[in-house]
């Protein structure tokens, strides 16, 4: 015996199928997930940038202190600009997520030069001009870091930060 086939239910929304409804949900979901990921990546990138900027400020301050102190055995009233590099590396070497750090030792008033591409920063160490001391007796040391630190989060170039931090400090001097 064959059982009777039940009659097909009429479509309550003629012209609209189940496929279009799920497609709409998919489009809404992709829009929401895209916006959510954008905000999330932006927030994480901003946090990482803050960490890198704080590391940069701390590093250039440590470098300035080291550069302003005379080298052992040298003239006690000379600065030791090259002492800045190990001090900066000790602070920023690990906290900047593998950012390449280039160094240049420039004179007062000289430009720091154009930094490299993404993931590279340039550190410029040199004497700074003290406006209250035109004779240059009480010299100051300036350390500046410019460039685009590496962002370990893959943001596909949407969030590419740059930093530009500088500190100045008086050199340590000795009277005879």
């Amino acid at each position: 015996m064959c059982s009777a086939i039940p009659p097909r239910r009429p479509n309550p929304h003629p012209g609209r199928t189940l496929g279009s409804s799920s497609g709409q949900a998919l489009v809404e979901f992709s829009l929401v997930v895209g916006a959510f990921l954008l905000v999330l990546l932006g927030a994480v990138s901003a946090s990482i940038y803050t960490v890198e900027r704080i590391a940069a400020v701390t590093a250039v301050a440590a470098g300035a202190r080291a550069a302003a102190t005379p080298a052992s055995g040298a003239n006690p009233n000379d600065v030791d600009l090259h002492a800045a590099q190990p001090a900066i590396e000790a602070v920023a070497g690990h906290a900047m997520f593998g950012t390449q750090i280039d160094y240049s030792y420039v004179g007062a008033g000289a430009s720091c030069g154009a930094p490299g591409g993404q993931g590279t920063v340039r550190v410029c160490v040199g004497p700074a001009h003290d406006p209250n001391d035109p004779a240059g007796v009480n010299r100051m040391v300036a350390v500046r870091m410019v460039g685009a630190p590496r962002n370990p989060v893959p943001t596909f170039g949407i969030f590419s930060w740059t930093l530009d931090v500088e500190v100045q400090v008086h050199q340590v001097t000795f009277l005879p």
Binding site: A43, S47, A64
Partner: protein, 131 residues
């Protein structure tokens, strides 16, 4: 259909500003942290400069002020305030302050005021330095 569209519009209108305020508030907190670190650094270097100056109060205060102002002038969102108590040696304890200018950033939308940040730093001069 139009009722559902209206509901979605209202939900978006409520959610979007809340999300925006949360995001800007988060960024404002990060900016405040950065500014505090920059002020701490400038105050610390000022105290170090004061300790490195020759043994008279005038040069100590002058060197500290120059270091403090020259370091902070680089940051446009910080207006340096006075630097106090950088006048005693060999133990120096400087107090710096600065105004964080949120009005110069998009975060003014969520933080309409410009808070004042303070910092204290100490440094000791070397007893072996000739003066």
């Amino acid at each position: 259909m139009s009722a559902r569209r209206g509901q979605a519009l209202i939900e978006t209108a409520i959610t979007l500003p809340v999300m925006l305020i949360l995001l800007l508030g988060f960024l404002a907190a990060l900016v405040a942290i950065e500014a505090q670190v920059e002020l701490d650094t400038a105050t610390s270097l000022a105290a170090a400069s004061c300790a490195a100056a020759r043994a008279n109060g005038v040069q100590c205060q002058q060197w500290a002020n120059e270091t403090y102002q020259d370091t902070l002038r680089h940051y446009t969102y910080l207006r340096p305030g006075p630097l106090r108590n950088c006048d005693t040696q060999p133990q120096v304890s400087c107090q710096g302050s600065a105004t964080l200018l949120y009005q110069n950033t998009p975060m003014a939308f969520v933080i309409p005021t410009n808070p004042t940040l303070t910092s204290t730093a100490s440094a000791a001069g070397s007893p072996y330095r000739s003066r």
